[in-house]
């Protein structure tokens, strides 16, 4: 194989994305060819450099902002759901009245999980920020976390919503 053909495949070779047989053949060539060996070193160098690239740190209020945005988008979507419901009721009501048809509201029961704070954990600030804990009941599970930089445990409980 010519050096050009080898060099096209060097990336795959370096990334371990090549079948064993082909990989052995490339390895043999690289051991004997200075040009191709240098190219492997360059790819390695590139990978090392990229691996050590560091960005700035995120602002400390990242989670708080995120929480606000999620809240906002939830309110928006709830509001638009309400509008859609109100509009459909406004359209359907007279028709229903006219037909003296009693619509059966098919309320879909769905599981909703509510989180309830059951107390704060006493983790050291520099300790790992979360730990899993266990509650005895199978219907409840406990999650501990450093959510929005408040250390707390919360209880996941399932209940049926009443829409």
């Amino acid at each position: 194989m010519k050096c050009n053909d080898i060099q096209i495949n060097l990336g795959e070779f370096m990334d371990n994305e090549m079948n064993h047989e082909k990989s052995l053949m490339i390895k043999k060539h690289v051991q004997e060819c200075k040009q191709c060996f240098n190219q492997t070193q360059n790819i390695l160098f590139l990978k090392q450099q990229l691996e050590s690239l560091k960005g700035p740190s995120l602002n400390s209020d990242f989670e708080i902002k995120l929480q606000e945005r999620i809240k906002k988008s939830n309110t928006k979507s709830n509001y638009s759901k309400f509008l859609a419901l109100a509009a459909s009721i406004a359209l359907i009501a007279p028709l229903v009245h006219y037909l003296t048809f009693q619509p059966q509201l098919n309320v879909q029961k769905q599981f909703i999980i509510e989180l309830e704070s059951i107390g704060k954990t006493a983790f050291d600030e520099y300790e790992s920020f979360h730990k899993w804990t266990q509650v005895v009941s199978s219907e409840e599970s406990l999650v501990c976390g450093d959510a929005m930089s408040k250390r707390y445990c919360s209880l996941d409980k399932q209940y049926l919503s009443r829409i």
Binding site: N4, E51, S73, T133, V135, V143
Partner: protein, 203 residues
């Protein structure tokens, strides 16, 4: 929202730390399933776990515009929150999250066409002697040079080189994230690397 089980906080609830029983942290997949069921804490843990990686990915994709990168990182996690049910459990969570990030970067580029700099880096002739870059570059100049070089790549090339060489995703995962064929991953990655290596050599 009305809670059927509204009750006072039960401080007497006996809680056994699981850390003594299970040494490893909850997996991404475990957290995402909890989140699908409604656990906000699991979502917050995922945010904690991935915010830095997602932020850095975006930061380097959009050429170090820090403020925009933070906003876009927020967008990624808002999207995750809203569309968590789109997650398919046959792929890894990180793959799914980075594919969201990729789309958000793409939309950003679409609305900021000024960032599209398809400055074509030289594809030098094949016969040029390959020198070993280790010998040529001094340590302190290296990072600056590498940044210049990746900034001069096309958006597609910058994405792939970052995902493969910084994030160490497999070719298969990259093909999932970018929604391209495996063969395209190979060829695009090879082109991107060659361009960076050439740029470093010529500087």
């Amino acid at each position: 929202m009305n809670s059927v089980f509204k009750r006072e906080v039960d401080n007497t609830l006996k809680v056994t730390p699981l850390a003594t029983q299970i040494s490893s942290e909850p997996s991404d997949e475990m957290l995402i399933s909890q989140f699908v069921k409604g656990s906000k804490s699991s979502y917050e843990l995922l945010v904690q776990r991935y915010k830095k990686r997602v932020f850095e990915f975006i930061y380097f994709q959009i050429k170090q515009h820090r403020h925009d990168a933070e906003d876009l990182t927020q967008d990624v996690f808002v999207e995750l929150y809203k569309k968590v049910e789109n997650f398919r459990h046959e792929s890894k969570f990180s793959t799914y999250l980075f594919s969201i990030a990729k789309n958000i970067v793409l939309n950003y580029f679409r609305s900021n066409s000024r960032f599209f700099s398809f400055s074509q880096l030289l594809n030098k002739s094949e016969d040029v002697e390959i020198i070993n870059l280790h010998d040529q570059l001094s340590n302190e100049a290296e990072q600056k040079q590498i940044l210049l070089a990746i900034n001069s790549l096309s958006a597609d090339e910058r994405q792939i080189i970052y995902l493969c060489d910084k994030e160490n995703f497999s070719y298969l995962q990259v093909s999932e994230i970018l929604n391209i064929k495996l063969g395209t991953v190979r060829s695009r990655l090879s082109t991107a690397r060659q361009k960076v290596i050439s740029a470093l050599r010529d500087n």
